[in-house]
Subunit: 250 residues, 2 copies
């Protein structure tokens, strides 16, 4: 087991964060991870406002999440996060999710791009960030991000209108919404029998308020309980995000 330093924060599972099984939804977990990353940045003096002064921000590029179990209503979880390295304009960050007994119930990895807001283009991460975040010289638990296979057969297709409540503080669709749209393609019946075990998401383009999107999925029970997902703009031409989900029996 890798001992993390970095930053940690406790979260309680509230009523509005659980699904029909009384368990925290995967969206809630992603919300916690994002909040924890932002709180870490804030704690080391590199919060949203401070970056805004430099006209920069972090944009999420990838998520990888693996949950052994989901916490239930009223449970408390502690999330630890560690910035494991910077490379040009990429920052990598890992997370460990523990229950109140200290058992690891989930882990996650993420890749973030450091952006110049005005040019809307990646920009080099300042050298002193590594010291401020306490990036370890060598991080043993590194797991590379894989590319995802293309969808070859479309088994489900749903259209969504982007709501104002889908929009982030920066005017674009919040990253958890793409996951929500991907998961809407899974049948109600599959959800009754299976639980999301592993999730990978790659973000490709930002989506502004007021547009429509298309969520497509491929996969079936006999395909090893694995689904491929993609979110396109309404024309179906621009891929906004793609993902893969792996499910295990409840």
């Amino acid at each position: 087991m890798v001992i993390m330093s970095g930053y940690s924060k406790e979260y309680e599972i509230f009523y509005f964060q659980v699904d029909q099984f009384g368990e925290a939804s995967v969206i809630t977990i992603l919300d916690f991870l994002e909040d924890c990353a932002i709180a870490h940045s804030e704690a080391v003096g590199l919060g949203i406002e401070s970056l805004l002064e430099q006209r920069t921000c972090w944009v999420l590029n990838r998520w990888r999440l693996e949950m052994e179990r989901y916490p239930r209503l009223g449970e408390k979880v502690t999330i630890e996060t560690l910035n494991t390295g910077f490379e040009r304009f990429y920052g990598e960050r890992v997370f460990t999710i523990r229950d109140s007994q200290g058992n690891i119930i989930g882990k996650a990895g993420s890749l973030w791009i450091y952006l110049n807001i005005d040019k809307r283009r990646p920009t080099r991460i300042p050298l002193q960030f590594a010291d401020q975040y306490g990036v370890p010289e060598r991080y043993e638990g590194k797991e590379p991000f894989e590319d995802l296979p293309e969808i070859t057969d479309i088994h489900s297709e749903i259209r969504f209108h982007v709501r104002r409540s889908d929009i982030d503080t920066n005017g674009h669709v919040n990253n958890t919404r793409y996951v929500e749209w991907m998961l809407e393609g899974i049948s109600e019946e599959s959800l009754k029998d299976y639980r999301l075990h592993r999730l990978e998401v790659i973000y490709k383009k930002e989506t502004p308020y007021g547009t429509d999107i298309l969520s497509q999925g491929q996969g079936a029970k006999d395909a090893g309980l694995q689904y491929l997902h993609r979110v396109l703009d309404q024309s179906g031409e621009r891929e906004l995000a793609c993902g893969r989900t792996v499910w295990t029996k409840r």
Copy 2:
């Protein structure tokens, strides 16, 4: 000032709970109120599971919320709630929202219906509930719920498709979603200049997963910064919820 007994719980404002102004959204506040009410019931032995054994549940009938200011990212608020009375199958509950200095920043009232799940009809509240919840003999701060005026002119109209993520643990649309749909009718420009000060909602019908809804609004800046809202089923014939919002300058 009325001193409440009842139940209280602390909430921190996380990143995913703030709007574009860095303030907790009204949806977040309603989520907190609902969670606090449920936690209170849990604490006195009348939680969701315990009612389920009796084949009963609480269904929200009305909200009334008044916010002096909205808490900001990272702030902690304490919500106190008190069950102020039972009448046949109606339960009334009030809330006070305080910041970390103890200042009252908001207050709310709510009316709940006690339901027989199998018959889907209101049922008489057991006498012993009043003792268990610690309902005061006489509650001074009572504020009656008003009926809302009908919409006579439609100034905005938007359609929504109900998503799985809109659905509650009981298989119906969560009560905060209706408010979300009502607020989508307010223009982006009005939101920049005005802040929601007072909200009233009346819930009329339950909405299942997979349907479409219609959100209509009436009001303008010159109409005293007041809007009327209603949410209808897709045919436009059945009213599912209605509301009134009052806005003050930022």
